[in-house]
Amino acid sequence: MNMRINKQTGEWLEREKQINFTYEGKKFTAYEGDTITSALWASGEKVLGRSFKYHRPRGVLSLANHDINVMLTDGVDTNIRGDVITVKEGMSLTAVNTLGGVKKDNLRYIGKLLSPFLVVGFYYKAFFRPRFMFPFWENIIRHGAGLGKVNFNYPRIPKPKLNEHYDVLVVGAGPSGLAAALAASLDKQLKILIVDENKQAGGSLGYDRAGSVTPQSQLEELLSEVNITPNITLRTDAYAGAYYTDHLIPIIEFSGITKVRTKTLIIATGVFEQPPVFRNNDLPGVMNGSAAQRMIYRYGIKPFNDGVVFTANDYGYRVALDLIHAGTNVKAVVDLRKTPVSSILTRELANHDIRIYSGHCVYEALATSDDMAVKGVVICPFDEETNQADSEQSFTIECDGVAMSAGWASAAALLYQSGMKVKYDYTIEQFIPDSLPNGIFAAGKVNGVYDFDQRIADGARAAAEAMRYMGMDNAPVITVQAHSNVSPSHSFPVVPHPKGKNFVDFDEDIQAKDFINAAKEGFDNIELMKRFTTVGMGPSQGKHSNMNAIRILARIRELPVEKIGSTTSRPFFHPTPIGHLGGRNFHPVRQSSIQSWHADAGAVFVDVGAWSRPAYYQKPGVDLAEIIQQESMAVHNAVGIIDGSSLGKIEVCGPDAAQFLEKFFTGKFADQKVGEIRYALSIDESAVVADDGIVSRVKDELFYITIGTSNAAMVYREMQRWLQMWQLDVGLINVTGSYGIINVVGPKAVHVVSSLTQDPLVSKLTAGKVGETIISEVPVRIMCVTFVSNIGYEIHVPADSMLAVWEKLIKAGTAYDIRPFGTDTQRLLRLEMGHYLPAYDTDGLTIPYELGCESELAMDKPFFVGQRSLKILAKKTLKKRLVPFVLADNFSGQMPEDCNLVIENGEIKGRVTSISYSSKVDRVIGFAYVDPNKVEAGSQFEIRTDNGSMVKATVVNTPFFNSKKEF
């Protein structure tokens, strides 16, 4: 049946453009601008979806962008919101969550037959025992209850994030929001943005007309003023999704998210209409009064042919007049209140011969034989004092639709998220802001202001306050009159019915009795009740149910409503596609200046801290373990080369440079000679090992430090902090990116390096020394470091010249079969040398005494970071010590791994920190923490492996390969 009526002024349709689409296999036509819901309703289609739990047929409830029962799929997208998304040519839609189609949904028997058993908390109680059966039940429940199915072949559609900045962000383009923007715009310097989730601005002014033309002309006047104001941007079809700290608001549109940072925020989001609770209030055809009004004026649809208005405020009378305007035969207005107050509206209705039943309720809506529509309502007297319906005196009126007006709840999600404190205003029976955080203002109905003129004034007041907050002291002082009419909301619009099915939450199919049962079970706090009943936990987050839930709980607990409080709905305000939130795969890594050389040489890269480093170089047909042994043997027998550019590099210069290092590290540097390098250990104030490195004294007042790759940023940061506190005459420069490091190691390294330069410095350079020279026209620092081999040169090259030097070294090394190696081999080599690695062999509690590195602690210095704590720790008994160990010759069996425990007499004594097979030593070697009395070489301990077997290990001296004869 066609429900479309004549063109309405201000309607959102373009009637000259027709659109064809299908729904559940049936063809429909619509106009450009129709939502899926409006297009179907205009064609007489009433069953638009099935409910979440009982699979009851559902139609339109609010038509306010949160009708969660109408969700559809086109095969690609799922959970398409029927009341929000406009129809497009060729769409092929089906309702989600049905078995056999929306009309013949076989799961409807859940609601018909099983619902007496599906009491609140049923799932929690019924399916958790026996536990092994839970996956079986879970599978069935998940198929029955739920929303759409995810399409795993969904195309990747990038949605870039935009950033914008404003002085004033107004959320909601109703009269108050528009008035606020206009008032603020008088200061031409201010940049103002208004956003509204609807396709067109205006809010309730666009549809709450009471059959009059005045509201629409008021709206047009406001909008034309906004449109000619250059410093106001009005963006519709864009909703403020959330409030984040310091006024960051994501504005969500079809194309993606704009992150708006605003100096001030004016929330003029209005109110959500709350349905009264009565039996079968969910039948298709029963809808909120404002839903009927939106249908009429936005989409030019007559909501129903014969209608009954069930009201508990004056808005129902306005709705009745709008229905009459649309051509609906209004058969009765049923008012829960004894005495309707507004005489003008009652008189107007009387002019239309509409019967008003005061002090009556709709006791229940009656379903057609197929359960899919309304065929009438049962009306009976109602006593507001006792909340009793007198069903003995009931009578029936036939109709195909019911419009409900019982009251409103603030659309205050963003205000709650921002930290608003609320109070309950009894003159309007609504929660309103009591105090708001700095820079946030509320205006209009969300602020408890209902009268049209006062809403305009309230918008201007909020704007003036925002301007004062921004320092404009001359902003006007505007007073808004307190609400003087009858309350727009009823205090308890709940009609009891012994047979139930009087729904409070339509998302989750929660009935009035579910609250009573939940309270009986002890879930009588609003937060507990929310979780037990799941009220407000559906996709609309309680937009239509929260206030009724609070009122019911207040009555159960015999408390005033404000004592119950409200739950905070979380971001996002409306369901937001996950694709909007996903970011780019943006994971920056630092690379050496010769990264492409490594790649060409077959390097397999690994992330080390912020860097991507070669782990090893692939050889065809050789497995990883073998490659590492080969690379390490190349170093032991001839020469290897590794790119160490990722090491942190810091220059410390100035007259106090040595003094600074003495305070920062544990060792001594004042007596370090120019041309010398020293080991440096850094500990924190509690004496926990932070990192270690090498300090080169390049000049008298210039030290050059290299520190571990992953801790470099942290060490540099701490240096900067201590320098501020000590106020020394020192300059710190992080030169990590400026230099590349080439490490040439092994017995033939000296031949390779010295072949590149005539400078005798290089051939004479001995362990522990550093010098500066020129290699093929490149100035370099070169130092002898024995970290991975007894003979090794670290060549520090300006990063942009690194490739030339590296290639020369490779060329010079060809004669000695020089082999590049990566971090995997480096770890093995340093282990063979017997060097521990901070963060690898230490953890967040390791102190130097546990490493046995007392010789690095210059306790005779007047001060260094951590020294005072060391003095305390020195007096305490050590609990564990790090020792080098080997496993038995030809060990076979379950291989111990990092973090396997060292166990003695059933007690944990320590753990393995590094372990590997070494070809050079021909043993499995490693580091482990053991009991401090097992430190001597030859001591034995046991490691428990992953399969529980105990493996004997023997403590040895380092380097491992020197002490080979000892075992």
Binding site: Y244, T245, S686, Q724, M725, R868, S869
Partner: protein, 91 residues
């Protein structure tokens, strides 16, 4: 996302900053008892309220002090360390 004002670079998004812990005045290590030192190193007054905190602006390498109310998460003031030293010396 929060904003924070670096005394050198102005107001920047919080992602550019590193928290450095509550500022603590180091006692004279030569005269304090072991337990006094241990409480300096390990004890943190976690009671909510106005705290002096170390913050670090990463891109510019600037350490500074932020006076932040940890109850309301409001930053009252930010300044370089030497201003703190001046304040302390006035006292």
């Amino acid at each position: 996302m929060k904003l924070l004002k670096c005394p050198i670079n102005g107001t920047r998004p919080i992602s550019e900053f590193v928290y450095g812990g509550t500022y603590r005045d180091m006692p004279d290590h030569e005269i304090v008892t072991d337990s006094e030192w241990a409480s300096y190193v390990h004890y943190r007054d976690n009671a909510p309220g106005l705290k002096k905190e170390w913050w670090y602006h990463g891109p510019s390498g600037t350490w500074f002090i932020a006076e932040r109310n940890t109850l309301t998460d409001e930053v009252k003031d930010t300044y370089l360390f030497n201003k703190l030293v001046e304040q302390e010396s006035v006292k």
